[in-house]
Structure formats: C-alpha cells, structure tokens
Amino acid sequence: MTDAIDGDWTPDRPIVSLMDVRKSFGDLEVLKGISFDVMKGEVICIIGPSGSGKSTLIRCINALNPIDSGSITVEGQEVNDPRLDKLELRKKVGMVFQQYNLFPHKTALENVMMAPVLVLKQDKASVERRARALVRKVRLEGKEDSFPGELSGGQQQRVAIARSLAMQPDIMLFDEVTAALDPETVKEVLVTIRELAEEGMTCMLVTHEMGFAREIADHIYFTDRGVIVEHGPPATFFDEAQDPRTQEFLSQIL
C-alpha cells in the first residue's frame, strides 16, 4: 500500500465505516443518517421492508450512488470525496446485483476475465487460469463457453459472483442477489456465498432470506424509512427484537 490514505488504515480498524450518511432522491430522503462499522472478515446482513433504503445504502458504498452528506470510508479511503479515485475503490469492493447484469455478448469465462485484463491490465494467460479456477469454485465447470442467455438465473448469478471475485476485492456487496431467482436455484447461490463468508471474505448483504441471514450473519441491521431501527447479532435480533417496527416486520416475514 503506497497510497497515503490507505497507509492510515490497519486491519484492526473498521474496513467499512459509515457516519451519519444522508441521501435524497429529489424531495424524498431515503437515508436519514445511517452509521455503522464493519470489521474485516465480518458478514453483515441488512434487512427491512421495501423502500427502506437498503439497496441505496449498499450502492453508496461503492459510489454507484453519491451521498449528500456524512462519511463513508472503505479501508480508510473516503468515498464521499470529489477527488475519489473510483478505480481504487472498485478494486477493493466487488458488487453483485439482483438482475446479475452479466455482459450478454461475452461467454461466462470472458465475463469473468474482462475486468482484470481491461482494467487491471493483468496478463491474459494468468487471468484465464484464475478465471477458470473461479468458474470451478462457483461449480460451473463446463459452462465456460456458454453465453449468459444460455444459463439459468442461478448459474448467471454465480458467474456474476465469479466475475466480481476475479478483481480480488476485499469486500463483497450483495444486493438482493436471490430475489430474482426460482426457489430451487436460490440455494446454489447461497451455498456459494456461504463458502465465501467461511473463507473470511468481508460480506455485506441486502437480503430477504431470513433463514440464511440468521445462519450466516455476524450482525444484522434492520432498516425502515431510512434509519437503522435495530441491530444485533442474529440470535438476539431474531429472538429478542425490542422495537415494535422490527417485531411487526419479523412477524410478517417469519
């Protein structure tokens, strides 16, 4: 790490830190002062009703949405800074989307290889070796030369995870990655995410899979109307929720 700002960060400090983050779309304030910290290797899940700002929150962390005020730091680097080096940020933060968003004109393997070759200017042969290993890791061996349109939703989502991992990020963001999938294929994606979490990847998930959140998360955040209503480790959160809004949400969904 030669970067002066990166130099300030050490793994004993939060890898992602949000402080009083505010964000509006027009007159609608979607994030009304969100603060929390994530430590390296932690898995956190953000849950809450639709329109509570969960996806916006996670998209702000890799600067897909700019924030209006407050501070987000990733490994000590301030995201809410006009001089932000977006490439540096995106090398650290991988993102997986609800709709997979694969590049439809590229094969599965090409999808995985594209960014390291193009953006990181890495050697093609070594990228290909790594990409093939990643495709195996997400259990899609044999599908390397298939186009996204020839794969099922669950398979596409696993290619998307491999594509993100190819950039060797330190943090992975998952934005409702199973919401568009059939119930049967949800599991294969969750298995992949669980493996990642077990390997020590820092993961932030927005999810509606309560069972999965309970099993995998170190910490759960419940958001409603732009604020964090309640948070805690899964056991306490699911069994001893205090706030009436959390209780109501959990009673509807569990």
């Binding site: 694969l102 590049f103 004109h105 193009l118 349109g149």
Partner: protein
Amino acid sequence: MWDSIQKYFLDLAERDPTWNFIYIYDDKELERVLDGIWVTLELAVVCVLFSVAIGIVGAWLQGARSRLVQIVVQGYIQFFRNTPPLVQLLFFYFALGQFTPTFSPDGYLQQPIISNVGWAIISLSFFAGAFNIEIFRAGIEAVPQSTQEAAESLGMNRFQAYVYIVLPLAFRVSLPSLNNNLVNLVKTTTQALAIAVPELLYQLVSIYNDYSTSQNACMVLMFVVYITLVGVLVLGMNRWERRMQIPGYGG
C-alpha cells in the same frame, strides 16, 4: 462468344428499334456504362463508410455533458433529416460551391477545390449520417443502465464501458435499421445526377438522349444494376446480422 452476343443485339436493334441495346454492341457506349457503374459503386461505398462514421461519433457526442455540443448535434440532425436530399445536393453544390476557394491547374480556367463528386459525397454522407446518429442512439438507449453499472462497478471508465459493452450491444440492436438506411443511401446516390456527377443514371440518361431508340434497354439496365447492387448490400448485412447474433440473447 462475346462477338456473337454483340451480333445478336445488333440484329435485334435492326429488327425491332424499341429494343436497341446499344451499350452491348457499341464499345464506346459500353465504356460509358462501365464508367457509370464504377462511379456509382464509389459513391455508394464512400458514402456508406462516412455516414456510419458520422453516426457513431454523433451518437457519442449526443451523450456529451456539454449543452452546446448537444445543441449542435441536434441542429445538424434536424437540418439534414427534415429537408429533401435533392435540395441539399443542389444547395451544397450551387450555393456553398460559390464560396469555396478555387484553383487553376492550367493557368487559365479556375476550378473549385471541391468537385461535383466531392459535393455529392459530402451531401449524401451528411444526409444519411443524420439518420445513422438517431439509429445508433436508439441502440444505445436499448442497453440497460444496469449493464453499464455492472461495468462501472468492475472499475471500467465511461470510455471503456462505451467501447467494450455499450457499443457492441447497441450495434446489434441497430443493425436492422442501419440496413434500411444504407439501402436508402445507395438508392439516393442516383440524385447526384442533378449536379452532373457521371454515375450510372447520368450515363444512361445521356445514352438514351443521344440514341432515343435505346431508352427501353437503358431503363432495363438501371433496374438490373440497382437490384444487384442493393441485393449484394442486403445479403451482406443480413449475413453480418446473423453472425453477430448471441445465443440466447435478443431472440
């Protein structure tokens, strides 16, 4: 072989003066026809290439942040799309042609630096280019914002995302409309006749003005050449379209 064909058409012209295929048995007229086909091909190929280049650059400029650039591109499109190509051709050659500098190769006569062929290429390319910008823009807008976001989240900048993700996808969406417009462009090259560009139509009209009995034969040749020319273009474009098809994407 060729001699007997020539002889056959010479006999035919003598038997029946309404079918005088003079450009088959008269080598001088044959040369005029071949020259005309050559100029038509030249016009078609050069204008197709220029107009596609204008389309790609224009569609990129349309997405520029500068309001001024956007207004200039919009003005260009409106002007060239909403006036007849024949009027544009005449305006370029007769009006603008007066204001372009001249030079004198022989020391006596002054020649404009842009010839009538030059004006025809400029005018027709700009005409078709205006449509191409709109065609490519429609293609670009058909690429989901979320696909570009994925590119962005992988660290690509706007240029990389445009060249490697947006353009290849937009181009596939644009091909059928582009096909149409290029067919139109090739047909519109005949209007260069109005400023005496010696393309095929000009040559054939001259021939049947010189030999009025050859009129029917000239008309037949016009259709044959344009059907062949446009046919080859359409065939090529269709093959290209099929080759660019992605399995499982866009029908």
